[in-house]
Amino acid sequence: MSEKPEEKSGIGKTLDFLAGLLTSNPIYKSIFRVGWPNTVLKRMAVMRSSFYMHIFPTKVGKHGLKLKYCWCMGGIVFFLFLLLTITGILLMFYYIPDENRAFQDMKDLQFMVPFGVILRNMHRWAAHGMVFTVMLHMMRVFYTGSYKPPRQFNWAVGVLLLLVTFLLSFTGYLLPWDQLGFWAVTVGTNMASSTPVIGYEGPFHELLGVQIDNDIRFALIGGTRIGANALVRAYVWHCVGLPLILTAMMVFHFWRIRKDGFSGPM
């Protein structure tokens, strides 16, 4: 890693000159604060002085940059989350979580909304992608032993993030209000009714007098079967509740990565 400026070719000098013109004016400097990052010091300053970049350290180990080590998986999960937020907000423009309207809105997305199909497709596939990559990320962290001291607690937070990701995907599954989502969520929430003590079909449910209309499943879906209430609950959890929880936990997850340091060989 040679840090000294190298001999520059003609093109390099021209580029530097143009970049200098672009980056030395007061408007550029008012936004980015650091000029053209052509020295090590400036490159570090770029990271430190930028709100979005300072989540990264100014220098990283060469080891961690390798694709075969990091797989980029955590980053991909986060980026898919960003894509899901963007496409999700756009989808919310066209979607009303009403028993009688939801499915019609799906059809409108398909036939009336410009690029509606691709919007929904992107949201759907990114969601599956996020669930899958979050599993891969976890496997990578396990196999490289990156969960070990001092990162134990961040691993625990990561496991909970996996769980919240599942729940996010699961609540979104109901929203199209088609047979596929309806029955998948019926199957899933029926499991909750088998919870011991607090589910009406679970063992020991009579201890607390738990019935079909006051058990844990009832609290989840707001009724004795999936209906209008369940749709609104799924929608609110999917668009507001769970993303807020996920964001709060992700912020913590990232902060701890910085504080605990990246994993590396001894």
Binding site: V46, K148, Q152, D178, Q179, P196, G261, P265
Partner: protein, 268 residues
């Protein structure tokens, strides 16, 4: 304070090693991230152009599809419904999974082997984790691709009628209705479960004393010494539960056992 933490655990920290080769984040890491974002965006866009998100007809609570499948990431748990009552398959096992995963770093015996792929020194941990991961994904594949109407086994390439039972040959115990399932008697079931738990807990402790010279003994002893009694109990109970799930699957498929233990309150 943060600096103290880092120096205290210098053995674990990459960033403490002054001679470790490092490069500036900008542009080295930023570049990787940019490429990754572009790649994922293009890939997602391409996939979205080629494949449409599924949309079936409008939901109808009086019209239950056969089979009704959970989303793919939960289908492994749904597949377990064949072998367990829902309170085990849908509640206890997922909770145990989450708890077990969270506990991994706290029962780890080789805190210094990190930051690289290492089989040596982590054989046991990697084996258990990989075994669990294979089971998780195998159950998903079976549930997603090999289960048809009435949750019977169907090969994915075979085009069957709705209902599909005509395809099942007579005398082939593919259908639950044809297979005669039976439960074990109270005594046998209780003995099996108690014996399994007891010997599963005790055998790894006894074996080193019985065969003090075996190669496995040395590895086991070293492992047990580091682990200590509490961690041993936590680890071993989780392993017994993982193997127990596999054991029940084998009992059900190989010996047509419906329940190992039937009590008036719950069935296992």
């Amino acid at each position: 304070m943060a600096q103290d933490l880092k120096t205290d655990q210098s053995g674990y920290m990459l960033m403490n090693k002054p001679d470790y080769p490092r490069v500036s984040t900008f542009p080295n890491l930023v570049w990787v991230i940019l490429l990754m974002m572009l790649f994922i965006t293009v890939l997602l866009w391409a996939v979205s152009f080629v494949a449409n998100a599924p949309l079936e007809e409008m939901s109808e609570w009086a019209k239950t599809p056969n089979p009704a499948k959970a989303p793919w990431y939960f289908i492994g748990l749904q597949e377990l419904l064949v072998y367990f009552d829902p309170w085990i398959a849908g509640v206890m096992i997922p909770n145990q999974l989450i708890t077990g995963l969270i506990l991994i770093p706290y029962v780890d015996v080789s805190p210094t082997i990190q930051g690289r792929y290492a089989w040596e020194g982590r054989k046991f941990a990697i084996s258990v984790f990989t075994f669990g991961a294979i089971m998780w994904f195998a159950l998903i594949v079976v549930g997603q691709f090999l289960r048809g109407p009435s949750w019977q086994v169907y090969w994915p390439i075979i085009d069957y009628d709705i209902g599909g039972h005509g395809w099942v040959r007579e005398g082939m115990p593919l259908k639950q209705g044809i297979t005669k399932l039976k439960s074990m008697s109270m005594g046998a079931g209780a003995t099996l479960i108690l014996g399994y738990s007891f010997f599963g807990m005790v055998l790894p402790l006894v074996i080193p004393k019985m065969f003090p010279k075996a190669k496995l003994t040395r590895a086991l002893k070293g492992y047990l010494d580091v682990l200590g009694p509490i961690k041993y109990f936590v680890v071993q109970s989780h392993i017994l539960m993982i193997l127990g799930v596999l054991g029940k699957i084998i009992l059900r498929l190989g010996f047509n056992v419906k329940y190992i233990l039937e009590t008036p309150w719950f069935k296992i």
